[in-house]
């Protein structure tokens, strides 16, 4: 923030004070204006944004304290600094109580004045920074993993933006690893519920009884082993979002309970008799074809219609290969930071290999591959060789030419002879052959025995 970004208004009935302060602050590069009384100050305050107002406490007409009250009504965040000619502690304390940043007794030491203004400017800078961060949080934002240049993904992103602003139940359909939970999180964090939790429950990992207890919680003694009262995920998600992953895997009883929950918005803990109201939004995800399950009679039709208000189909990675370079680069950036490595990009031929692959494990698989490659990578680019664990056939051939078995044998015996400094007994021991065999091999390959001669 430059000094010229800060606007200071000086309100004092004494022209010499106004001029001196105006000049003093102008020298520091601030934008300065002055007013001789409260009325003209209020006029100026209506006309433009001000950061700091320095006001004299004793002025004809409206006094400094009253002016401060009116300023705070216009903009409670404006910094006000009270100036007084007398060390009137009472009025100054009153001013501070009513929101003044500080007060000065005229005349003030130049150094104190510099510090005071520096602190006020710093406070204002923090205010602007806070405002900017809030705007950033409140604006539509997506995780870098939801990267979409492909038309299919652009549609998904549009839908996220659309449903975020509603309270509708959403079903996210997609293969494993397509980032269904990330999409649920994006909907949650762009909704009005973003300041409350998003609670995830993976329905596929619990038995029916356990799932019920996880979701609704239980009272003490509800079942053998229920030693304490436990809050369910549903209660934790109050005012927030409940994300039910693998919804297609819940059993008949749970389907019934869930339907009742969606209709009544209240539930009782297992073993309890008190109805608890909750304010939640459901987002669920499935890899299963729920329509077929409905037709087969394994998933309740009424629940399906309740859940299926908005559907988001997340395309598998093979259907949006256009996004692979951007997703890979986003992972590189993230892992480079996490691993403190200076890897900045990926080579084109490596990208070609990534694009040619079908990614059955989708984005999750791509993420794992990039993470492993990042561990291996030595330079600042991910090379094809860094992905040799994934594309073994794509390894660049070694520089050595392919040797015949005889050549390999000859080289190996020579190496052992070098190691043993020509000691035949030792070399034969290492090679696990008889001395005679070794002599024959030395003769055959005309090997050097390190005794200054070539054995004939």
């Amino acid at each position: 923030m430059k000094p010229s970004d800060i606007a200071i208004l000086i309100v004092d009935d004494e022209a010499s004070i106004r001029n001196a302060l105006t000049q003093w602050f102008e020298m520091d590069g601030y934008r300065v204006s002055s007013a001789e009384d409260a009325n003209s100050a209020l006029m100026k305050l209506q006309n433009g944004p001000w950061d700091i107002v320095m006001l004299d406490i004793k002025m004809p007409g409206i006094d400094g304290l009253e002016l401060q009250r009116r300023i705070k009504k216009i903009d409670k965040d404006i910094i006000t600094i009270i100036m007084t000619a007398f060390a009137s502690v009472d009025t100054s304390i009153q001013g501070l109580k009513e929101g003044a940043f500080d007060y000065i007794v005229k005349p003030v030491d130049p150094d104190d004045m510099s510090h005071l203004i520096r602190n006020a400017v710093e406070q204002r800078r923090l205010y602007y920074e806070n405002l900017k961060l809030k705007q950033h949080i409140e604006g539509f934002s997506l995780s870098d993993e939801i990267n979409g240049e492909s038309p299919a993904m652009k549609k998904v992103i549009e839908k996220i933006a659309e449903v975020s602003q509603t309270e509708s139940t959403v079903i996210i359909k997609g293969e494993n690893g397509t980032g269904k939970e990330l999409i649920a999180r994006a909907i949650h964090s762009n909704s009005n519920r973003r300041y409350f939790p998003m609670v995830t429950l993976n329905c596929g990992t619990y038995s029916e009884g356990l799932l019920e207890s996880e979701l609704f919680g239980h009272e003490k003694g509800a079942f053998p082993g229920a030693l304490y009262r436990r809050q369910g995920r549903l209660e934790m998600a109050d005012k927030g979002t409940l994300f039910l992953d693998e919804i297609g895997q819940i059993g008949e009883k749970m389907q019934k309970d869930l339907l009742r929950l969606i209709e009544t918005r209240c539930f009782t803990r297992l073993g309890g008799d008190r109805e608890i109201d909750v304010n939640f939004r459901i987002i669920c995800a499935t890899t299963h074809d729920l329509e077929s399950a409905v037709q087969a009679g394994t998933f309740r039709k009424d629940l399906y219609y309740r859940l299926n208000v908005v559907t988001i189909n997340v395309p598998p990675l093979r259907e949006r290969k256009l996004d692979i370079p951007a997703i890979a680069r986003a992972f590189i950036k993230r892992f480079a930071q996490a691993m403190n490595k200076n890897v900045i990009d990926i080579t084109n031929d490596t990208l070609d290999h990534l694009l040619a692959y079908d990614w059955p494990g989708n984005v999750r698989e791509l993420r794992n591959v990039i993470e492993r490659a990042m561990v291996i990578a030595k330079g600042n680019l991910i090379e094809l060789t860094d992905l040799s664990f994934f594309f073994p056939s794509a390894q660049t051939p070694a520089d050595d030419s392919i040797l015949s078995l005889e050549e390999v044998e000859k080289n190996h015996i020579q190496k052992v002879l070098e190691l043993t400094h020509g000691n035949i007994v030792q070399a034969a021991g290492i090679l696990k052959v008889s001395r005679l065999t070794l002599y024959n091999k030395i003769k055959k390959y005309k090997l050097k025995t390190f005794k200054g001669d070539m054995e004939a």
């Binding site: 004494e14 010499s16 001029n19 003093w24 003030v108 030491d109 130049p110």
Partner: protein
Amino acid sequence: MAYIYILPIETGSTYWMEPLEKSIQRAFGYPIKKISRDISLEKAFDIKRSQYNSSQILLQIIHDPPKDAAKVLGIVNTDLFIPILTFVFGEAQLKGPGSLVSLHRLNNKFYGLPENGALLTERLIKESIHELGHNFGLVHCHDPKCVMRSSTYVEDIDSKSHDLCQRCRNTFIHEKRKA
């Protein structure tokens, strides 16, 4: 040709004049002329504060300046103040015709230390260039060595150099061209 005029006002000895002239000329590229005029310090004296109102002295300095004056720099040896502050080392108007510097608080004697003519000259040079810098449109600078850095203590003056930093120099050149 335009000159920077230096106007000593009841300062007594002016042994610092020659190095001051050279330094100002080097800093801003204007030739220097000395001037002598009747300036009433009594008029600026504030009996309650036992100090001199610097703005009132400055008004007299810039009243009817010589035709060939680029800027006028007044030098006094009295304790200066502006109404809101307890004291000032000097005063200048931003992009204005003149400025004022006082030797009073630049002198070691004020702090109970033995007098040091060379140090006083050095401080006077820095403060004069600083105030004239404001006259040429320069605002306070954050560079710790730049002469345009704001000084509220005499130690602050000692820690900076008497040169403009590159950024302030560029601004000065730009402002000079505009003028």
